[in-house]
């Protein structure tokens, strides 16, 4: 009796789930495009048209690049220009294309205790943070956002790593976890706008610093090089990239809204 029930349970559990189409590609991606909901909006349109399923592994720029270097992906979508160029130069990628842009913002307590709103640009804001010793949470994980953050500190002539553990806290985590920490600590952090706008735990935080060329955030898309990594689905991967860069794909990106706000701005040439 028990045996029969167990056998039944086993069959039910092991019955294969409905299989998706046989054609698919794996995209190694940053998290902002996933967490904001862009992929949820964009990819079904592509699949409907091409019949190719897009499987996104959204693990953050650093890990996405490492995975792609191992050949564990067909297409790379990240936002770290220098790392992307190195990826292609090292032979792992075929070519880098401009895909879209948005911008970074610094968020912090709505009351703005460090007076960031008084600075005219991001350099001034970072200096104020360093001076007042206001807690700043860094990604600390080699992601696109992290690399941008470090570049901004450098441009301001500051090295916050000396105060690591004091007012400069490295979370070593993704954007979502870092934001949760910043909210919990009543601290400041750098985030891309898309992730922030769609974030569900804003607490009493608001955007304190935005705008200006220094905070631009360009995304690139790269096909993983099939010559170095045999097994890459280069054909279907290229179809996907072509679609993203096409007027249709770019328009779809522009049409994506959260709370009425456009989060990504097409930049293909």
């Amino acid at each position: 009796m028990i045996l029969r029930i167990l056998v039944l349970l086993t069959l039910v559990v092991l019955a294969p789930l409905a299989q998706a189409s046989d054609r698919f590609i794996v995209v190694q991606s940053t998290t902002s495009t996933e967490n904001s909901g862009l992929y949820g909006w964009l990819l079904p349109q592509f699949t409907a048209e091409s019949g190719i399923e897009v499987r996104v592994v959204a693990v953050g720029t650093g890990q996405a690049l490492r995975n792609a270097r191992n050949g564990d992906g067909d297409v790379l979508i990240v936002h770290a220009r220098a790392a992307e160029d190195a990826f292609v130069a090292d032979g792992h990628g075929v070519k880098r294309h401009d895909l879209m842009v948005n911008d970074f913002v610094i968020v912090g307590p709505r009351a703005d205790p460090a007076g960031l709103k008084e600075s005219s640009n991001v350099t001034g804001a970072l200096k104020r943070i360093a001076e007042t010793g206001a807690i700043f949470v860094s990604r600390g994980d080699d992601s696109g956002t992290h690399k941008k953050e470090l570049a901004l500190w450098r441009a301001a002539g500051l090295d916050p790593t000396g105060d690591d553990g004091a007012w400069y806290r490295e979370s070593g985590s993704g954007m979502g976890a870092t934001l949760n920490i910043a909210i919990g600590m009543d601290a400041h952090t750098l985030t891309d706008r898309a992730t922030w706008v769609s974030f569900g735990n804003k607490g009493h935080h608001a955007i304190l610093v935005e705008g200006g060329p220094a905070l631009q955030n360009p995304y690139g898309v790269i096909l993983v090089n099939p010559e170095v990594h045999p097994g890459v689905r280069a054909g279907d991967g290229q179809i996907f990239i072509d679609w993203l860069l096409s007027p249709a794909g770019q328009a779809a990106i522009a049409a994506f809204r959260v709370n009425g706000q456009q989060l990504f701005f097409p930049s293909a040439r």
Binding site: I5, A20, K202
Partner: protein, 232 residues
Amino acid sequence: MGDAIAEAFRLIAVGDAALWEIVSLSLRVSLTAVALACLIGLPLGALLAIARFPGRGALIVATNSLMGLPPVLAGLMVYLLLSRAGPLGPLELLYTPTAMIIAQTVLVTPIIAALSRQVIADMHQEYDEQLRSMGITTMGAVLTLLYDARLSLLTVALAGFGRAAAEVGAVMMVGGNINHVTRVMTTTIALETSKGNLAIAVGLGLVLMLIALTVNGALMALRGTQGAARHV
């Protein structure tokens, strides 16, 4: 917290298709992993309990220690194995439910082996002389003890299932949390947390606990139908 409970009920009541897809994948992955872990771990534990051979002590210590293997480390090891750059790359198993099953099996087998070893060792004390006087083979002893310890071993299996169903590090690493393909309960909770949707995340967590309760409750009922007084 109230939001979370409300969210949990809403998800279940609505019969949210996405939720049931995630739940069934979670069950499929973890139950399969536990089944495989039992297939390997039960005979292994029984042999460790009964047989005497050089290095047995070291093997027992190793098995016990592996119960504490961090899931993310197990995931990393399996990732390195299955990566296209790794030895089993050509099998194209990365980012599939199969990879998740493999990683969880690695995680759960030591638990099954270590705990069943203790259970069987205790029973072996009791049965050894009688079984030896009957001229039983080692394999015969293993099968006899495993069957006679079946109720305790069920609890061992449940401990393994608890570990598998609750972990996120291994399945995230080898599964990639791909929507509709490798997204399970724990990785969904992690994802919703990273999107700041804390109420949904906790709600999902409550659903997960409810499933664990249901599995355990069902098995307890099964035990009950055997008749309370039948087994001392």
